[in-house]
Symmetry: C2
Subunit: 156 residues, 2 copies
DNA sequence: TTGTGTGCAAAAGCTTTGCATGTTG
DNA sequence: CAACATGCAAAGCTTTTGCACACAA
């Protein structure tokens, strides 16, 4: 069975668990998300669906994203620009992001030491931690041809 | 010299550096920010100024916050709720945040291991990293009286 | 005096909501 | 067929913008 079908099966299970309906929109939006490898916003996802001649409203895209996030199939990020960005979640370990303030490139990384920090912090602060977001902001050294002056080094 | 005057002096220096004017609004807003110890949004700051009978517009609060961030005196955060939160920055080492998904409590922590991760990632990804944001989401074990069920464990 | 900063209100952009319609279970 | 999901448009919020006026340099 291919990846697309596998992920749809997982959605089916999660929807059943929650007593939610299996609508065409939910599967189609899930598929569109898993077809991409980037970090996208709601509008990009909406337009990609329309470009495939699949008719959905923005409201449904928003609603469905919430559902998919709740099901653990999509992740939502706030990188500081306006609006949220999303990416598929399944099969991808928790990972951090590195964002170029100049060209907006987004890279991902994994570092097992982060897990250690999470455990320490959870213990010290008396928290049950179940999600994390680590973002580094800076300038990528190649590709975006930026002169590294001392000005505007602060992201928002 | 007290802390408030010290911070105002720093602002003076930073404004001069940038050729920006020393307006009453900038100093007053800075002072209002340094009078608080919490994470606040634009509206809260705006209202606190009005409550002191200091007249500013929302636009000026937004503009001034940008200036203060650029001067390194204020930090902006995106914790996932709508809108950004701010806090004073000077004299506070880079620190991570722990956010309770249930009661919205925000705690802070420092972990030197994060710096190590930042350096590794910078080297591996070929980035000049100059800012970081680490947020852990979870439930605080006391104070917010939450039943820890298996549902709604996913923040946005 | 000169030009930047502010105030106000309107606009813009992202996200949510309400209601009617359509579809799943 | 009953409840839930969708579509559409309108409303809500946060943030930005444009223009006239005020004030710092």
């Amino acid at each position: 069975m291919n990846t697309t079908n596998k992920i749809k099966d997982i959605l089916s299970i999660e929807l059943e668990k929650r007593g939610l309906r299996k609508t065409i929109e939910r599967y189609k939006i899930l598929e569109a998300i898993y077809d991409r490898t980037d970090h996208f916003d709601v509008e990009e996802l909406y337009l990609s669906l329309r470009k495939q001649n699949f008719h959905v409203s923005r409201a449904t895209v928003y609603n469905t994203l919430d559902t998919l996030i709740d099901c653990g199939l999509v992740q939502k990020h706030h990188f500081g620009g306006d609006g949220a960005l999303f990416e598929k979640a399944l099969g991808f370990r928790q990972h951090g992001h590195v964002v170029c303030i100049n060209c907006n490139k987004i890279l991902e990384f994994c570092d097992p030491r982060l897990q250690t920090i999470q455990e320490s912090v959870g213990n010290i602060m008396d928290f049950n931690i179940n999600d994390q977001a680590l973002i580094f902001y800076g300038y990528c050294k190649d590709g975006c041809n930026r002169n590294l002056s001392d000005d505007d080094k602060k992201p928002d």
